[in-house]
């Protein structure tokens, strides 16, 4: 059993065939999917197109795809309306926040409150890229660090958050998640620094660790879990059991 809690549709080389192939080969049982059209700062139309694409995929693979509703907090009440419509009419079961605003921007609050009322989690992009005259160029404008998410999570203790890809720089992400019990952490992404998974489990406990790819190679991402100093039971918890509990996936994806 495998649940990929962080993957994007129509992003890079990932398309419908990717999901069909992984599902049919038994490589992934559930995908938690969002789509990110419109660049870093999407318009309302981009948001609708993104969520429409996810809805089509949900209909194509109803037993496998869980929709996460992409929203841009800058859109204010439109963003909340988009979330309500997708949850109530189309069965989306999570929220995706990317880089349009910092996670602790006050405009995020109404979205978090709506998600908390539905009992659905918010998957929040975070990264810490070395800044200033750095080799990476630093974070994008309004790109959250784990510390932004930490402030949001403390402001909304009843909401449930997922910190994407261990916060980017896991040494920061682990620290923030340790002190925020309403943050789970996914292990997705393009980095596989050894000791990151063990450090995360040591800090937050096994129950808040979720497997994901964020469109990186599935085997690359599995290697982090296979290679970490964990028991088989802990690996199973990360690969699917924690996610199944978070969204109560025991019966169906809807």
């Amino acid at each position: 059993m495998l649940i990929d809690t962080h993957i994007h549709h129509e992003f890079g080389t990932t398309n419908t065939a990717t999901f069909v192939q992984r599902a049919e080969r038994g490589l992934t049982d559930h995908f938690w999917v969002s789509t990110l059209k419109g660049g870093y700062y999407p318009s309302p139309a981009d948001i609708r197109l993104s969520n429409d694409a996810v809805h089509v995929l949900m209909q194509r693979l109803p037993a496998h795809v869980v929709g996460f509703c992409y929203v841009n907090p800058v859109h204010g009440s439109l963003a909340v309306d988009e979330l309500r419509q997708r949850v109530e009419q189309q069965g989306f079961r999570g929220v995706k926040l990317w880089v349009a605003t910092y996670a602790d921007d006050p405009r995020v609050d109404s979205i978090v409150e709506a998600a908390a009322a539905y009992g659905i989690p918010l998957l929040v992009h975070c990264w810490v890229k070395v800044g200033g005259q750095s080799v990476s160029g630093g974070n994008l404008p309004f790109e959250s660090t784990p510390m932004h998410l930490g402030r949001l999570a403390r402001r909304h203790p009843k909401a449930r958050f997922i910190m994407a890809h261990l916060g980017g720089d896991w040494e920061y992400g682990v620290r923030v998640a340790r002190d925020c019990p309403n943050i789970s952490v996914d292990t997705s992404g393009s980095l596989a620094e050894r000791d990151s998974i063990e450090s995360l489990v040591d800090a937050v406990g096994i129950e808040r660790v979720l497997f994901g790819t964020d469109n990186s190679d599935l085997d690359f991402c599995l290697g982090k879990i296979v290679g970490a100093d964990l028991t088989d039971d802990q690996r199973e918890a990360i690969l699917w059991r924690n996610a199944a509990r978070l969204l109560d996936l025991s019966s169906s994806t809807r």
Binding site: S190, R194, D219
Partner: protein, 259 residues
Amino acid sequence: MILDLNVYLGQWPFRRLRHGGTEGVHRLLARTGASQALAAPLQGIFYKNPAEGVREMLDELGIDHPDLLPLAMVNPAFPGWERDLRQMAEEWGCVACGLAPIYHGYRVYDDGAAALCGALRELGLPAVLFVRLQDERSHPLLMQVPALPTDDMAYLLKAFPDLPIAICNANLPAEATPLAPLLGDRAATLFTTSYKSLQLARMVEVLGAEHLAYGSGLPLYYPESALLQVQRADIGEAARASILGGNARAFLGLGGAPC
């Protein structure tokens, strides 16, 4: 028989390694089933005098280390490197020589780099070129080291066609694909699997299996992330065997046929 072409020994200055040192590296190698590895001295990258770092690594290894093949490390901008290199090759048993221009502060176009490549050819030592040691986004704030530009890799491949070169930690396929046209008419050229997602089946098509070698980057990275990609890629068993060890053994002159 798995040979890991990219393993680090010594101290990583920026965080504690749960499986650092000879004992930790052996433990991780055993988990992956690798029977041999090329061991790069981390101190040789960070010290002004790389030879001191190589000496420290050899001291740590002791004399009984048939599975860990020592990599020399030379900075051609540091005086006296010629004598150091000869000693590493002829007395210390190093089987290849590492070049880390991004950490040692020289350019591959410099006269020193040319002299080093010439010396390696004379000694019969292959070169291991480090494009980066870690992802640029995660560098320590006070030590941000840009990756080696693809143009620099291309220059080395073209300027020294008789020198076998392994390129470590390149971003496959973005940084390796432009170099594919340069590989046909030169000595052995390998790209290691030790950085990020590989799209390995595609890279076998673009580069050819004979130009890929398993390298894990342990203990800085989870070796299983690279290994699983090689073991499960749809590339055929002959190509897989070559990538997991055959190509690296031929590159290091240990016998075994490349793909």
